[in-house]
């Protein structure tokens, strides 16, 4: 199978920003992603982040009442990306924000998932994880009425052990795309019987082991060079401003 080209139109290696936000507040995480999505001048950006406190995020269109986990989750936000709810604990989250006409996101949305998931599968294989796209068969992790992303699968999802292992969702607006991804490092209270990296990574610092491999595969697969960076002051300010609504009762219970 020929891997779809995601090189820039000029064929040159692109430089993307890499912003890492460890143990960041849920409002900041969501606010910064939205700030990057809405700024047409923002450079191509990959974020890796974790959450503090542990947070349940609802998909943009989900009904509050359809996610029973909201009762026991502690912190809750609503994302602007679609899909099901995710419990952000024991997890590495990533986001990619690019123009919609970038080769990575060009064409049908499912193809863009395929491009990103190929890079993830390659990174996972380095740790002995035999991951692949789920295909048409249902998964052992599929569950009804939990509202959780990892309990619903589509053929393009990444799975191993016949269970879903990566949560993914996108938001497209203003000619730009925000892609969210979630990789579980271990089991979580609200996402029983899913695929995780427990046992594949060193227990003490699993993110320290996996993140460099993921970054290498992204650089290789997407023909990009990643440069570590921090959000600009204006991006921090926008993130703070935009972040306020994510946990607000009116936004959380909009549906």
């Amino acid at each position: 199978m020929t891997r779809p080209s995601v090189r820039s139109d000029s064929g040159a290696v692109e430089t993307w920003r890499l912003i890492e936000s460890w143990d960041a507040a849920p409002e900041f995480n969501m606010g910064l992603d939205e700030a990057l999505l809405d700024d047409p001048g923002a450079p191509p950006t990959l974020r890796l982040y974790t959450w503090s406190p542990d947070t349940l995020s609802l998909g943009y269109f989900q009904k509050w009442a359809d996610v029973p986990g909201t009762e026991n989750a502690g912190a809750v936000v609503r994302r602007i990306t679609g899909g099901g709810a995710i419990h952000h604990t024991r997890e590495l989250t990533f986001s990619i924000v690019l123009p919609q006409d970038h080769p990575l996101f060009r064409g049908p949305i499912p193809l863009s998932y395929g491009r990103i998931h190929e890079a993830l599968i390659a990174a996972l294989s380095g740790f002995g994880v035999e991951a692949s796209l789920a295909g048409q068969a249902s998964l052992l992790s599929d569950r009804e009425k939990t509202g959780m992303c990892f309990h619903e699968s589509t053929p393009l999802d990444v799975a191993w052990g016949e269970r879903k292992g990566v949560g993914s969702a996108q938001r497209r607006r203003g000619g730009r795309v925000l892609h969210h991804g979630s990789i579980k490092l271990g089991s979580t209270p609200l996402e029983g019987d899913i695929a995780t990296l427990e046992g594949y990574l060193p227990g003490e610092n699993p993110i320290g082991a996996f993140a460099p491999a993921l970054l290498r595969e992204i650089e290789t697969n997407f023909a990009v060079h990643l440069e570590r960076s921090e959000p600009t002051n204006s991006e921090r300010s926008a993130a703070q401003h935009l972040g306020e609504r994510y946990a607000s009762p009116s936004f959380l219970r909009r549906r």
């Binding site: 269109f61 006409d101 049908p108 499912p110 938001r171 607006r173």
Partner: protein, 132 residues
């Protein structure tokens, strides 16, 4: 060639004059981007209530496929007078027929000018660039 009886936004919405109102929809290209040929992949569409005033370019609704949420942008300014209730519950109609039965909303426009929009030929060109 897409229908030449309407105008287009580069973001894949169309607008068609119908008497003293106009009708908004999204193109086959948008449907294909969202669903890639699987009509069941469109899962939710949020449309405005009749009576809402729209400005040109404003987001008037949102559509969700299995894997993405996308904004719906208003090609012209005006007041929403009707929404296509059928597609709110049956998005397969939009997936199968985005040009006719899958229309989204009917609007009483503030004016009839569409000179800021693409005609079918211009839209074809913009889609062609996106396909390259």
């Amino acid at each position: 060639m897409r229908p030449d009886d309407r105008h287009y936004l580069p973001s894949h919405e169309w607008v068609k004059t119908d008497g003293d109102t106009v009708v908004f929809g999204i193109t086959d290209f948008a449907v294909e981007e969202l669903s890639h040929g699987n009509e069941d992949d469109l899962v939710y569409c949020d449309l405005p209530e009749p009576g809402r005033k729209l400005t040109q370019g404003e987001t008037f609704g949102e559509i969700e496929s299995v894997k993405a949420v996308a904004d719906l942008n208003s090609p012209v300014a005006g007041e929403v007078v009707e929404i296509n209730k059928t597609i709110e519950d049956h998005l397969q109609v939009l997936a199968k027929d985005p040009w006719d039965k899958g229309w989204l909303i009917r609007v009483k426009p503030d004016n009839t000018s569409m000179s800021h929009l693409l005609d079918a030929e211009g839209y074809e060109a913009s889609v062609g660039e996106a396909d390259e």
